[in-house]
């Protein structure tokens, strides 16, 4: 494979769940080191698109089309093959961290599990790596934190544990599904910078799903807008955000500007004054 070839190529992806095409003919490609934003209203099929790439759709889902990772077809591949890739060549940060963490396993082990599975790390090396990764995602007191269980962490800490596990093997493709929803803006900025470094250094291709248009503007170069399972608009992030062609994207942006907090004007601040 040449370096400029697509890391991920999704063609006419369709996911049928309960008689409805919840993903309805989605196509996009991602080159090494590229960052693609995927936005769209709630329930538009963003998470299912990512899960389809990962081969982790809910059972009962029918999927057609093609998903190629580094030229290799993933759809229809055996689960065994896929699980060899997951966590190593492609990793996902799940939207809801609580569902992605094993409640009975210390978080340190969960962070370093991909390294043990795919890179053959020894127990000690994995433990050291877990602490390093925990430090990298800005978790406080990492030595101690790696020994705790998921329920002992705050929402944002759990989310960072998932991020650390996804980054462990420096995957060729990272699917980030709302990776910063539980983080405050200062930590969010750190995490986004970390993802940026990973993309720059390891040439990871990044699919970034978010509701936060300001974040997507900061992180990605290209943008695809999903609505009811279809890509309704795609283009350079700046262009799409500045002059959206699709009326729904326009509505989305208008709403975003409406709820955005503006620094000095603060005109809308405390719109409701106390009696």
């Amino acid at each position: 494979m040449t370096t400029d070839a697509a890391v991920l190529e999704v063609t006419d992806l369709r996911v049928r769940l309960g008689g409805v095409d919840v993903v309805d003919g989605v196509s996009f490609a991602l080159a090494a080191g590229e960052r693609l934003g995927l936005i769209g209203e709630s329930g538009s099929g963003k998470s299912l698109t990512a899960l389809a790439v990962l081969g982790l759709l809910p059972a009962g889902a029918r999927v057609t089309g093609s998903v190629r990772l580094q030229g290799r077809e993933l759809l229809g591949g055996s689960d065994r093959e896929l699980s060899r890739l997951r966590g190593r060549d492609l990793a996902m940060i799940f939207q809801e961290p609580s569902t992605a963490l094993n409640p009975l396993m210390r978080v340190g082990r969960q962070i370093s599990e991909p390294l043990r599975l795919h890179r053959g790390y020894s127990r000690q090396a994995a433990a050291r790596a877990a602490v390093e990764l925990a430090t990298a995602v800005g978790l406080p007191d990492p030595q101690r934190l790696v020994r705790s269980y998921p329920h002992e962490l705050s929402g944002g800490q759990r989310q960072r544990v998932c991020i650390a596990a996804a980054l462990a093997c420096r995957p060729a493709l990272l699917l980030a599904d709302e990776p910063t929803t539980a983080l405050d803006v200062t930590v969010q900025a750190e995490i986004l910078a970390l993802l940026g470094r990973l993309v720059a250094e390891a040439g990871t291709a990044l699919l970034f799903i978010t509701h936060d248009l300001a974040v997507v503007a900061a992180v990605t170069r290209r943008l695809a807008v999903l609505r009811r399972g279809r890509v309704v608009e795609t283009g350079a992030t700046d262009d799409v955000l500045r002059a959206p062609a699709d009326p729904h994207t326009r509505a989305l942006l208008a709403a975003a500007r409406l709820t955005q907090w503006n620094l000095p004007a603060a005109g809308s601040a405390a719109a409701r004054t106390s009696p």
Partner: protein, 276 residues
Amino acid sequence: MTAVREQADGGATGAEPLFEATGLVRSYRLARTSPFGPPGVRHAVRDVTLRLADGAALGIVGESGSGKSTLVRLLLGLDRPDAGTVRYRGRPVVAGRPRALRWFRREVQVVFQDPAASLDPRMTVGAAVAEPLACLGVPGDHDERVDEVLRAVDLDPDVRGRYPHEFSGGQRQRIAIARALAPRPRVLVGDEPVSALDVSVRAQILDLLGQLAERHRLGLVLVSHDLGVVARLCDQIAVMRGGTLVEQGATADVLSRPAHPYARALLAAVPRLPPP
């Protein structure tokens, strides 16, 4: 360390506050790092004092891991503080037998941070939303009310018979909001209640909450990372860090002239849309 401003008491100077927390402390014991070392202690909440006037709205912002969710659990009487008290309408709210707090639950409802974990995987959405109605013996037609709140959060009432795993993240969060609003609480406590919603649904939910606040004097305690949400709905804001409130005051004041360095850092880090 605490930069308390004049109106720190929720604009309820003199009047009896509706909801009041005094000197809350909660620490957790941690795993030992070595077999012979002392078990660590994490002070998740240390000495937090808060007041909420009737119909007021308080926003809590702060660093990840600063103790906001712990504080929410303490406020709701779902966890016992090591020290300090919570009072609602002057009556103490103490974690203990569930029945003993029914008077409080009738008036205060909550949306938890993680909707996936806070919905029972084996309970249909309809049953989950109706649960507070059934538990609290709310008068009226429960089925109708469930439909009404589901519609209010932009979900089709036909979804009642489905299970939580069949929804997207944002849809699950809306289910959690519908459930909290179902029994018509006086105070809604939300732990990142709109974090998973796309901007247009978020705007709609914020409008809904704003309306409820205006028409029915719904009180709000909103934990949020999104300053836009807090600025829009809350007249008071508290900034939390390392288990304490490092700054509190009127939202407009704090956001335009933050005193604590962390509050300043927080404001500076807010990502912004490129201008149109």
